[in-house]
């Protein structure tokens, strides 16, 4: 009898497996599979989205609405997104896959990612990205750009500048294309390579001042046309207890404009000779690098990384000075080395120790100008860093982290010959029951540098970046789960810097930031989230006859949520963020500067309705309210004193919205 039951069970198992059935845990019985749902979960699908969007400048000049988004032109735009994917069935004898992902094809923020390959054998890819930066289009300038130079109408003069102004947009477009691939030569070896080209074109801004003694300067549009090419090839080896990767990369930067020739708009007669500035010169960088690790024991690992590079620059000098060389013919050697050993001597204790060296060695040599001035362009430094860290489990839910770091930096030539830093940090994390965890962190750092010496300037001044500094860090953090669906996280960090040896320059700085995050999982299909963050930083800076107190506050608030309704046919989501900042500066001898404020409110809403498995409707809405007040960049073309010709920019203040309706087809 026993064997008959066993036989029946075996046959039943086979039959069940032979048909599309599943075992329902709740019912305790075998039920028929929902083939449509099964297919939806297991089969790869693609989607194409086509629609129309519209940008509406509600108030003010909303050119900046297009910053990084491409939404800078009022009116309609095309929505064209795609997510096309293919992968051989999971149980196929081939593992080919390809994908094409496109976003924002109708905007200047378009992105394209394509890939083709066979998993475990090879992969090739091509990516393309555009990033627009949009600063202002209400700017006015008397300059005419010709071949990267800034010229003025010969018939003009400072007195008639208003008659020669023309509008100019301040914004850049970055376009990057990358082609690459990877091939697995064997189970141990793989090879990858990529080539990319980035262009940056458009208009930035530049200060054109050459006569500081008379206090004149011009803020002008700067033509930008730059190309950067990168090539990278690397091999990787994977062994039983070791891994190794090594490669070579080169970066070549080309500036279409090696010199900026400009006319001085302060001149009484604009027909005079122009002046010039050097632009960022063409350069190239070559580097070989390697990285590896090795398992020394069951719980002990040794890691290492190293790189050796050489940066070259050989652009011809501009200007009229007689130089001992036609170009700088600069060469800078860079090198880095990192070592780390990590172990777990006991189940409760983990230790790590590391060393990093970073070196820059300018090998250019001296250049002589006008047979008299010897210029040594070299700036070299070597930094050594030692780390020792430990993590000890005091109890099942309590961990203590301790870290010590020593950094030594030597510089040549010496504004500050060397500096040493010691830092100790401790972090205790503990859990109080299943719903509450948290801890605190403390840190103390001190930096000691040799005296900062300058050709000009008071001896008492200490360079901010290298001055003696005592830094204290403190922080608390907590995570609380009042219920299974709600989480609250609080972090608060304090940074306190004291430059006790600095009578001039930065003497003290404090910074604290507190953030509260929350997440409410209403159901598997609905959630709400929110955060609030407040940061305040204060510092005191001393001049020879004055003391300035700086105070900045930033408040950031965000709330959002998403839900799926109507049997997951309808998806709704939204986010609201609000950032407000205030910067104050009070100088005891001269009084308080006007405050600089910025307020940005943004709303993003999303609705998606899936008509059926193939067809869906998407509705997206964005609203932005931007209001900044910066006295230094706004105002008259020629300031009251007549010494600065600005771009006449208004405060950035606008309200704009965009809405897009699209049809998504899934197949």
């Amino acid at each position: 009898m026993r064997y008959n039951k066993l036989m029946a069970a075996m046959i039943a198992t086979g039959l069940c497996a032979g048909t599309a059935h599943a075992f329902d845990m709740d019912l305790g019985e075998t039920v028929e599979r929902d083939e449509e749902k099964w297919a939806e979960l297991t089969e790869i699908s693609s989607e194409v989205e086509v629609g129309l969007g519209y940008v509406d400048e509600m108030d003010g000049n909303a050119y900046r609405f297009g910053h990084f988004t491409g939404l800078d032109d009022s009116g309609a735009y095309l929505i064209l997104d795609a997510d096309l994917r293919h992968r051989d069935p999971h149980d196929s004898d081939r593992a080919r896959h390809w994908s094409l992902r496109a976003r924002n094809l109708g905007l200047r923020s378009r992105q394209l990612e394509t890939e083709y390959g066979e998993q475990g054998r090879y992969r090739i890819f091509f990516d393309y990205t555009e990033i627009p930066t949009r600063k202002a289009d209400d700017t006015l300038t008397p300059f005419r750009e010709t071949g990267g130079n800034l010229r003025l109408p010969e018939e003009g003069s400072q007195a008639t500048i208003e008659e020669h102004l023309r509008p100019v947009e301040i914004g850049l477009d970055r376009q990057q294309a990358e082609l690459g691939g990877e091939v697995h030569l064997s189970s141990s070896w793989s090879l990858r390579s990529s080539f990319s080209q980035t262009t940056r074109e458009g208009t930035g801004t530049i200060g054109l001042g050459s006569h500081w003694a008379v206090g004149e300067s011009i803020i002008a549009p700067l033509p930008v046309d730059e190309t950067t090419k990168r090539y990278d090839i690397a091999a990787a080896w994977r062994g039983e207890d070791s891994h190794l990767a090594f490669g070579y990369r080169t970066v070549q930067f080309n500036n279409e404009y090696d010199v900026l020739r400009w006319d001085n708009a302060h001149d009484v007669d604009w027909a005079g000779e122009g002046e010039e500035k050097a632009r960022a010169p063409d350069n190239e960088h070559h580097e070989v690098y390697a990285s590896g690790n090795h398992r020394l024991g069951e719980q002990t690992h040794l890691s290492a990384s190293a790189s050796v590079g050489r940066s070259l620059q050989d652009a011809r000098f501009v200007g009229v000075a007689a130089m001992s060389r036609d170009s700088l013919d600069a060469a800078v050697d860079t090198s880095s080395l990192g070592l780390q050993i990590t172990g777990r001597p006991t189940a409760k204790l983990r230790l790590t120790s590391g060393y990093q060296m970073d070196r820059r060695d300018n090998d250019t040599g001296q250049v002589v100008r006008d047979n008299t001035l010897v210029i040594d362009p070299s700036y070299n430094y070597t930094r050594h860093r030692f780390d020792l860290g430990g993590n000890y489990r005091l109890a099942s839910a309590t961990r203590l982290n301790l870290d010590y770091r020593y950094t030594d930096t030597e510089r040549d030539p010496a504004h500050s010959e060397s500096s040493e830093e010691n830092s100790v940090r401790a972090r205790l994390r503990t859990g109080i029951g299943p719903r509450l965890s948290g801890g605190l962190s403390l840190g103390q750092e001190n930096r000691r540098g040799s005296t900062y010496t300058r050709e000009t300037g008071p001896d008492e001044l200490r360079n901010y970046a290298w001055a003696d500094r005592d830094r204290t860090r403190g922080g608390v953090f907590a995570q609380y789960f009042p219920t299974e669906i709600l989480s609250l996280s609080l972090t608060s960090d304090l940074l306190r810097d004291r430059y006790d040896e600095s009578d001039l320059g930065l003497t003290e700085a404090d910074r604290h930031i507190t953030s509260l995050d929350s997440y409410l999982a209403i159901s598997a299909l609905s959630s709400l989230h929110g955060f609030v963050s407040y940061e305040e930083s204060d510092s005191t800076q001393a001049g020879e006859t004055w003391v300035g107190d700086r105070r900045e506050q930033v408040l950031a608030v965000g709330v959002g949520g998403k839900t799926q309704r109507m049997n997951e046919q309808l998806e709704l989501g939204g986010d609201f963020s609000w950032v407000e900042s205030l910067a104050e500066l009070d100088v005891d001898s001269d009084g308080r500067l006007p405050d600089v404020t910025t307020r940005v409110k943004r709303i993003d809403l999303y609705a998606g309705y899936q008509v059926n498995r193939e067809l869906g409707l998407r509705l997206r809405y964005r609203f932005e309210d931007y209001d900044s007040d910066d006295w230094s960049t706004t105002g008259n073309i020629v300031t009251a004193g007549g010494n600065i010709i600005t771009l006449g920019q208004d405060d950035t203040e606008y309200q704009a919205q965009s809405i897009g309706l699209s049809l998504a087809y899934r197949f």
Binding site: S187, K277, N283, H285, G457
Partner: protein, 301 residues
Amino acid sequence: MNATRQRSLCSAFLVALLLLLISAGGVLARDMESCTRCHDETWESPVLNILQTPHAVMADERTPFAPNACEGCHGDGGEHMKAPADDEERTPPPVTFGEEHTSVAKQNETCLGCHDSGARMHWRGSMHNFEELACVSCHTVHVPRDPILDERKQTEVCTSCHARQKSEALRPSAHPVQDGAMSCSDCHNPHGTLNESLLRRSNVNETCYDCHAEKRGPVLWEHAPVTEECTTCHQPHGSIHQPMLKVRGPQLCQQCHLGTHSSAAFGGDSLDTPFMAGKNCLNCHVQVHGSNHPQGQRLTR
């Protein structure tokens, strides 16, 4: 046991095995089916999406799914498949991800069994490793596309812990991280590096030069803090001062430069001086990143 019964038993076993092989396409697929009998399309935490991912590619013998199906990652499910007694809970599989049944170390070792090379080479001893983060703290495996590998969604994952960076990224002068044109992993390798702040490159400047190659130089007149570390002046995660400056000029410059005209107290409401309006110090010292002009020693040309 008599011979007839033995023959019947063998026959039944062979029939069942044959049916399994025919229906499921092989022994390996049967193993998956034994899991998906329960963890099917109606399961509240959908697992079947794994079949759309690189983890479940049978033709790639490197994947755990190829020889062992679900058990490749979750371990031997024999005990888990046994029906529990009425008053007991079902025994979980040996490895469950994101849950307390399995230690973080054991979860991660499962992942590292395959993913311990390349960018994850230095995981052991890394900051996130020491914080005892599980791989699934950031990664989602049973979905067609892991959100953290999507530039537009990665920030959301990272800033769920890194609150300060979340706030800074929203500020008026920031990299396009919030807009999905950049991601945290463009600069950082969260799996660990031997560099400062988990940077992908050997130091801060090499990281910045990846996109800002024009700042590399070398040039005739270098500006020491620029050459040494961009973050001396810039706050890369976002600032209220353009362009991502830690402090506005001229006060930023005066932290290192006093003497001659730079000693002046720049305050009050007489803002028409060239040292205050426009680009303040950069109205003249425009080549603050270094100048290659023979007469550019003051970084003006």
